[in-house]
Amino acid sequence: MGETQAGHGTGQASTVQGAGDVEASLGLRDAELQVLSRTLANVAHDIQNHLAAINESAGWMGDLLTLKNKQRFGWISRLFRLGKRHSDDIRPFSVALDAIQKEIGQGSILNKRIGGFAHRLEEAPSLFSGNKALEEIGDVLLREAAEKGIHLEMKLANGAPMIETDPPGFQLAVFCGVEQIMDGLERGDRLMLEAGEEEGRYQVQLTSSRPAESLGLPLRDPDGQDFSQTIVEELGGQIWKQSGDGNHITTLAFPLAVART
């Protein structure tokens, strides 16, 4: 990741700071990010192991209850073809165990996304699923939107092809694009994120329920450029914006993976 991200803000930054200083500080930031990402990935992995252990223990208790039930009422169940139905004294335990396993399942999905996001920070440009990368940042964005009272909806097309680019750069570009738009929205406003293949590219389209002029200024990089635009262009993609009918649409387009021989 180091080389790719270090390239994001260099170039003409010498007007503000020496180019060497900027590169040095970005290099340090990269190193810090790598340490953080590895720590986060390890913690997420350990949490996953704990969740798995709790899940198995809950499952084991369920197995034992089922076994006990079968031993006591097996012949009745068989006679009346009751299948796996539990008796009244066992049912509350069974319901509680199901609830535990359901919560573990949901916690596990969130934790996997955090782990996936952390792993991506370590990755060099690679072939990856844009949808999966968006799901990883989606939880954070959905939570933030909910806190702001904004209706954020994500629609990721099934079967979208893989893209080949810098994964954290891709996530950061979309993240900044969504953040900028959300900053200009008010409670009750809508924002739709749609992603999929369009015209031979992987496109992320952000449609907000307000025109461009009310959305405020984009996040800027050290050169004063729109941060999302800088990243998207560095990744070989394009970004364009259009307004009409009270809506504003920002489209981030990324090149698909070149077929490998």
Partner: protein
């Protein structure tokens, strides 16, 4: 069917072993990669359920060595959270399947049975060729089996139905 579970999380793997036992799958358990390789030298299992992140030897290294020394053993990866790169590497090394913890016990039991069935089919096919005197083909069959391309697809449909 001889199944070996390899995982350093002792509570987890003990419970897993008990639960698989209840489903008619008897298992042996070891807690690190080197012990797994030592076990394989003494008594070759049909299927290994292998964690990736373990102290000492990383699970992927165990898989790499097994693919050279015992390519007939079917390996199901069961990891806390691997990366896309791990999954690609497991596929390249012809792991039978790649699952993430926590997984549904019945799904895991199905994968283990599927892996065992696949191993039997490979062995019988190789034996048939060997009996017919086609030893090179028999050897190639044992070496070049690509489980993820065949059984993996079968299970994908099952997963979609579950979700």
């Amino acid at each position: 069917m001889k199944v070996l579970l390899v995982d350093d999380e002792i509570d987890f793997v003990t419970t897993l072993s008990n639960r698989l036992g209840m489903r008619g799958i008897k298992t042996d358990v070891v807690h690190d990669g080197q012990d797994a390789l030592d076990y394989v030298k003494e008594q070759e299992p049909d299927v290994i359920v292998l964690d990736l992140k373990m102290p000492g030897m990383y699970g992927m290294e165990v898989l790499r060595q097994l693919s050279k020394t015992n390519p007939g053993i079917q390996v199901v990866i069961l990891t806390g959270h691997g990366t896309d790169r791990d999954e690609d590497e497991a596929q390249r090394l012809k792991a039978f399947d790649y699952l993430e913890k926590p997984t549904d016990i019945d799904k895991l039991a199905d994968r283990i049975r599927g892996a065992y069935k696949f191993r039997l089919e490979q062995t019988m096919a190789a034996a048939a060729f060997a009996e017919a005197g086609e030893f090179d083909t028999a050897r190639e069959m044992a070496k070049d089996a690509e489980p993820l391309k065949t059984t993996g697809e079968l299970f994908e449909d099952e997963d979609k139905n579950e979700t």
